[in-house]
């Protein structure tokens, strides 16, 4: 990837595992939780995050009924894969299961509604992540629009955001997860988290400013 933000210097990268890739979800430490009963592990790891799981699924699918189906599917997946949990971050692990289940559920049941970042061409993806040069970045005071930030408008703008951007902003603002956790859950590098997040905010600001015109 050619994109190498100078502001990486601003991001805490003091934890060594960051440099080794996002190992948290894929690797098992092996000694973390040996010989535990699947059900008790599931109850301890996945169940406490059920409300959050539902909310994430609600944002990713766009409605409550679909979100319920996704959470049900996700809990089954989590139960079957519970032994792969490495014992470090149950919340991020659970939400990553929900996130992945949501996309496979959408692809199966709402194939036309979902656009994944992987489906986009390279040019589109760059466009999505970086946007047009003249619209992103710091504007002069005259260019900074007064945003229409009532709940209804913001909610509507968020719903209209493309799914790959929406999931990042939801994970950041609704679930208040760190860049690292978002990278783990969405399965993308931390640099991509940062660029998509910036792009999401930029697009939201554009949509919310536009309405005033």
């Amino acid at each position: 990837m050619t994109f190498r933000p100078a502001s990486m210097r601003c991001v805490k990268i003091n934890s060594p595992e960051l440099l080794n890739g996002f190992s948290g979800l894929k690797q098992r430490s092996g000694e973390a939780l040996p010989n535990r009963d699947d059900r008790s592990l599931f109850d301890e790891v996945f169940l406490p995050h059920l409300t959050e799981s539902y909310r994430l699924a609600r944002w990713l699918t766009g409605n409550g009924a679909d979100a319920e189906d996704v959470v049900q599917d996700a809990s089954l997946r989590a139960f079957r894969a519970i032994q792969t949990f490495d014992g470090t971050n149950g919340r991020a692990w659970s939400l990553s299961v929900v996130r992945n289940t949501a996309y496979s559920w959408l692809l199966k049941n709402r194939p036309r509604a979902v656009v994944l970042a992987d489906d986009l061409g390279e040019a589109d993806r760059q466009q999505m992540e970086q946007g047009d040069a003249h619209r992103s970045g710091v504007q002069t005071p005259e260019q900074v629009l007064l945003l229409k930030l009532d709940i209804e408008s913001v909610q509507d703008a968020l719903t209209r955001l493309p799914a790959p951007l929406r999931e990042i902003i939801v994970l950041r603002e609704m679930h208040q997860l760190s860049y690292r956790e978002i990278a783990e859950i969405a399965g993308i590098p931390i640099g991509t988290v940062m660029s998509r997040l910036a792009r999401s905010r930029d697009v939201l600001a554009y949509m919310l400013g536009e309405q005033d015109k």
Partner: protein, 245 residues
């Protein structure tokens, strides 16, 4: 060095999201104080962030937790479901096992019944005027007596030196078969040693104060019955086995 607008955005964002370390945050704050455009942009982003967080989060429907619980509970261990083939195989194996265990139980019951008959014969012998049909402490008398009456002649040992005096012999009927029983005396106790066909494995049975202990060698299966404790019968068995070999 001039930072590109994108880099500014990312730096602003990292500060906004609390992802800067202390030094970077301090440096950014200095820039924010001197750069009006950056400050406005920051305020805009902060307002957007707050607005996003202000969106009410929908609560999970109350039924969902139960639904998830039922889904997971319905999952048999390790996610395997019974196919009808496996089920059919399990039924067949189950039937075979229960048939086998009924047979085994049957055999056990019949073997236990056999020992009970031996004990009953011992008791009947004690109730008679004497517990033997031929009275003799001489094995050379007892043995021919058996041979004259039934096809099989048992080992008749004189174990007087070991504390078990030969008293005689009688013929019992066990399982519709006449079988020889050799009677020994140990102090005031009467020990009946019933000799059955070889190769039987019989349980230890206690009944009405009488104990029956059995063992077998290549020639016969022996059942010793007495009112002595089982450990004394075991002693008798040891003495008998040592003398017979």
């Amino acid at each position: 060095m001039m930072a590109s607008p994108d880099d500014d955005d990312l730096e602003l964002q990292a500060y906004l999201d609390g992802e800067c370390d202390a030094n970077a945050a301090h440096a950014f704050e200095k820039r924010l104080a001197s750069d009006e455009g950056l400050r406005l942009r920051f305020e805009q982003m902060l307002a957007l962030s707050n607005a996003l967080r202000a969106i009410p989060q929908e609560d999970m429907p109350a039924t969902l937790r139960a639904r998830v619980g039922a889904t997971v509970a319905g999952e048999s261990p390790r996610g395997k479901r019974w196919s009808w083939r496996a089920l059919a195989a399990a039924v067949i194996v189950g039937v075979l096992i229960s048939a086998a265990s009924i047979l085994a139980l049957d055999q056990y019951r019949s073997r236990q019944e056999l020992v009970q008959q031996v004990i009953a014969s011992h008791v009947r012998g004690l109730l008679a005027s004497q517990p033997f049909d031929v009275a003799s402490s001489d094995s050379h008398v007892v043995r021919p007596w058996f041979i004259s009456r039934i096809a099989r002649s048992p080992q008749v040992l004189n174990l007087a030196q070991q504390g078990f005096t030969l008293s005689g012999g009688r013929i019992d009927v066990v399982g519709n078969t006449p079988v020889p029983t050799v009677v020994y005396k140990h102090d005031t106790h009467v020990v009946s040693l019933t000799v059955l066909a070889p190769g039987l494995s019989l349980p230890v049975v206690s009944q009405s104060g009488y104990q029956a202990l059995s063992w077998s060698d290549g020639k016969a299966t022996y059942v010793a019955v007495c009112d002595l404790p089982v450990k004394d019968l075991a002693n008798f068995r040891r003495i008998f086995t040592a003398a017979s070999s």
